[in-house]
Subunit: 340 residues, 2 copies
């Protein structure tokens, strides 16, 4: 496969099979740098099916994105929101969006793509380990304060802070798909007691992980030292965690969200944290990037990361492979990871 690096300085571009103008064009208008290598590794899967053009700089500027995909047949979407305005401007020629993530509903207006007859593909289970590990990294920082203590030591302090134990404490998992089950495996290693709430949960599925099902989401919050959310964002789960559930968290407990901010009712977590008696770790937010004036910036007990849980070399490999495979399937007239 021929790969040519463009000489244009303003818009760094990589194109494959550029001489094959008979093939449809796949464009990735913006890139997270660490995705580039695993994506390139997968491109042989599109040989003789499509040529591919990558823009190798990172931009979220809407006009730039539209300009870059003006001649695209399919678009690879990673780390970018496809706004309704973008959809309207490219719907004449773009026939497929291949989204590098699971929760595509937060990034593309699916009723609108259905109406326009554009296929949307996502990727599944690519980041079960990456996300579960990041959820535990949030739990660890809230329990052991390594980041905080490192900073304190560099400022000359030595006093330290006592840690919290994970061993023999209770973790409550809301959601028990691939990520929730990976959480349970990790929690088993730490010797934690495991509670699980899920809308459809078979008792024997929980039992395989030494986890105890809890029927009511509020009871899960009341009985856990650590609550971690692993629900997909759907019509049923949007706002499912309300002030009522958050109120049942005991003083000193920890809540972690690496799923989608929208599973928590708007403003409810900031209000609960304002009381100052619980801790929280968030990788997801109602508005991303987190606005300067977001109330979460001013509540106590909160640790935040900028939606990075899914970004590891292993997850990147899984994700990029599925993105390219779903495009190959599209051009072969097959279906893979098609979002209905």
């Amino acid at each position: 496969m021929s790969t040519t690096e463009s000489s244009t300085i303003e818009t760094p571009v990589i194109e494959t099979q550029r001489e094959r103008t008979d093939l449809p064009l796949v464009v990735m208008p913006t890139v997270i740098p660490t995705m580039l290598e695993p994506l390139s590794d997968c491109l042989p899967l599109l040989h003789d099916l499509a040529r591919v053009r990558f823009y190798t700089d990172f931009t979220l500027d809407e006009d730039t994105v539209v300009e870059r995909i003006h001649d695209a047949d399919a678009v690879i979407v990673i780390g970018l929101h496809i706004t309704d305005r973008i959809l309207e401007r490219v719907s004449g020629h773009v026939r497929c969006f291949a989204f590098g993530g699971t929760g595509v509903a937060s990034y593309i207006n699916l009723p609108k793509t259905r109406e326009l007859g554009i296929r949307v593909c996502n990727v599944v289970h690519y980041g079960d380990h990456a996300v579960a590990e990041h959820a535990f990294a949030l739990i660890m920082e809230l329990s052991k304060h390594v980041g905080l203590l490192d900073r304190d030591m560099r400022e000359g302090q030595w006093e330290g802070i006592d840690g919290l134990d994970l061993y023999e404490r209770t973790i409550g998992l809301a959601g028990f798909g691939g990520i929730g089950q990976t959480m349970a495996r990790i929690a088993q290693g730490f010797g934690m007691r495991i509670l699980v709430w899920n809308s459809h949960l078979h008792a024997d599925q929980a039992a395989r992980f030494d986890a105890q099902p809890v029927d009511d989401l509020g009871d899960l919050f009341a009985q856990s030292d650590v609550v971690s959310l692993h629900l997909p964002l759907t019509g049923d789960t949007a706002g499912i965690v309300t002030a009522k559930e958050l109120d049942r968290l005991r003083p000193g407990s920890i809540i972690v969200n690496t799923a989608r901010a929208e599973v928590i009712a708007p403003g409810a977590l900031a209000a609960r944290l304002q009381r100052g008696d619980i801790l929280a770790g968030l990788d997801v937010f109602d508005h991303e990037p987190l606005p300067e004036d977001d109330p979460l910036r001013h509540v106590p007990g909160l640790i935040m990361t900028p939606h990075v849980a899914w970004r590891t070399p292993g997850a990147n490999r899984n994700l990029t492979k599925q993105v390219v495979q779903s495009l190959a399937a599209f051009y072969r007239g097959e279906r893979m990871n098609v979002v209905e």
Copy 2:
């Protein structure tokens, strides 16, 4: 049991059974505040055996310590070095040091206490979970950067950093006592491959943890993505990790030390880190508190915490109970946790 709080403002004191001047006196000359409650909970174990006096403020001043234990029969030592000068000044009356930790050799000159006929007790396995969890907290910060990303976000950044995977990566455990084995259980939960080096290691002991024994310490360093040290400090282990072993760490690998700084040859880790191609997490240092001019303060890739791994509510409960039990044994003419 009667507990009276002294009215002296300068030296806050708690005494039990103070009217029982017929009983020998146990003194704790300095306290880590979070130890106070679990220690108090154990004091009924000394009922009719000894009266106890706690100084409830934290000091490391040698003269203050000597003054506070001038009439002590036994001394509880937590977070304090008993220097040779202290030993000489109190050896006429102190008959027992009850040390709140395992590695007492770093805190009390044992050949000298033997020579003086003073009993030294330590505590064992009290913090297996606390220390192993903290080692993983260091590994997590180096892999997932939660502390760093939280700081970046609060400064208005959103770009993020990719994480490292733990799943399917290799952890090498140097030492396989209670803490090393707890590390293996946690690593199993993360789906890591586990290598173990120990001076005395039975293959079936490793097999119980799905761990693979490695005969040579250098090979362990060369074959692991993450190396974690869990060796006790003894004549055999002092300086056992030399520049030669550290040189075999591959670029990008992580080394964590929550055991004792002295198991690494002096200066060897700072020199290795100076090359800038590995990451390290340290909770222990050759000199504690870490001096302002220590070379470790200026090397890249290092996360530090101030010897706090052992400080959790669970470990505090285990530790304080053993400290008081070993004193009760001393006064009953029995032996418990006596360091030979």
